[in-house]
Subunit: 216 residues, 2 copies
């Protein structure tokens, strides 16, 4: 897989060795993230909306209600910034200054428009559904024409993106290493808990196998 | 505690009963979030940066390197949007259409400037440090003058904010309730794992008590 161009907008200036423009680094971060944050601008005012996404090559699918301000904004071709952030741990250094987080993050830029065709929309919803939890598409009742019509789906072409990854240990100055301060990493894990059945679920309906396999 | 004004920018139009403008709802979400996403706009281009934050009343503190584009942008008074998102679970409905997430999110708007005074900067760093992990400020070596000078800290006054909370179960139509599809919630937990000592940590240095108390 190739690289995105390192433009002024995406260049990692601070600690550049943690940055990457490679799709091989960027794609897995986007795909592991359950949600993203979409940034857009209306009359000079920046706005951020957290939302579910899914990716197919350089194309990002975002969905929502027909009335969504964000989707209407994308519909007319305005640029968006989309951030994907995975937190992996807290880095405790001897010096406060060297404290940090372990993370994998991507900031992507692009623009796009809305899918108009019902078949395209259904295909994109399938990509989104499989992103959230593989297998669910096979079990759920799929959207009918009315539901599909009530749903807007944007396809955003990513044209620029960079990743930043911090997976190390504290980088205290040599002079601080002997301080009697605990240093290291407390990992952060994003875990699936015990499923809670819907109170209205008919008795005896089994918990399906594919829902036991946490995709993250 | 009072409410933020429900302005055009922050009004929850989609399922308004999930929205709130109350500080009593908004503050705890901001405080539980380890990081936030800061949105700003440069020449019509929206940009998002994930970063650590801390809150004191309606004031939000963001810190970074002196060269940070985001902090330089805030320094000259430009407006920012800051999003705080806590994911609590995945809601599996019978119909694909009713699938959703359990979440608590805040979108806040404001502007501010940089702290100039070393004493103010140190006080803000303490608020940030206590936000990430209470107690760490007491153990770590605090910033010296050079480190403090290399750190920029923005104070952003939140003037508008709204929260949206989804903590329910699937809301399938009555006609879908009898479908043989498992429905319910798989909770998501943000858990601290086993601490990993820094490879350079002197032998015998104990793991401190306060680091055993996960603040989230």
């Amino acid at each position: 897989m190739s690289e995105f161009p390192a433009t002024k907008l995406t260049k990692i200036n601070r600690i550049p060795e943690r940055g990457s423009y490679e799709r091989a680094v960027i794609y897995p971060i986007i795909d592991e993230a359950l949600i993203c944050h979409v940034g857009f601008e209306v009359d000079g005012q920046p706005i951020i909306i957290p939302t579910i996404h899914a990716r197919l090559d350089d194309m990002l699918y975002l969905h929502g209600a027909k009335a969504s301000r964000m989707l209407k904004h994308i519909a007319v071709g305005h640029p968006v910034c989309v951030a994907f952030t995975l937190l992996d741990g807290i880095i405790f250094a001897r010096s406060l200054f060297e404290h940090s987080l372990r993370y994998r993050s991507v900031v992507a830029f692009g623009s796009g428009g809305l899918l108009e065709n019902a078949e395209e929309k259904l295909a994109a919803l399938r990509v989104i559904s499989e992103h959230v939890w593989p297998g669910r598409w096979q079990e759920a009742r799929l959207p009918n024409a009315k539901e599909l019509d009530a749903t807007s789906i944007a396809a955003v072409q990513i044209t620029k993106a960079s990743a930043k990854v911090q997976d190390g240990f504290p980088t205290d100055a040599v002079g601080d290493l002997a301080l009697p301060v605990w240093a290291g990493v407390i990992p952060i894990q994003f875990q699936a808990g015990e499923p809670i059945p819907d109170p209205q679920l008919p008795a005896g309906l089994p918990f399906p196998e594919y829902l036991k396999r946490n995709p993250r």
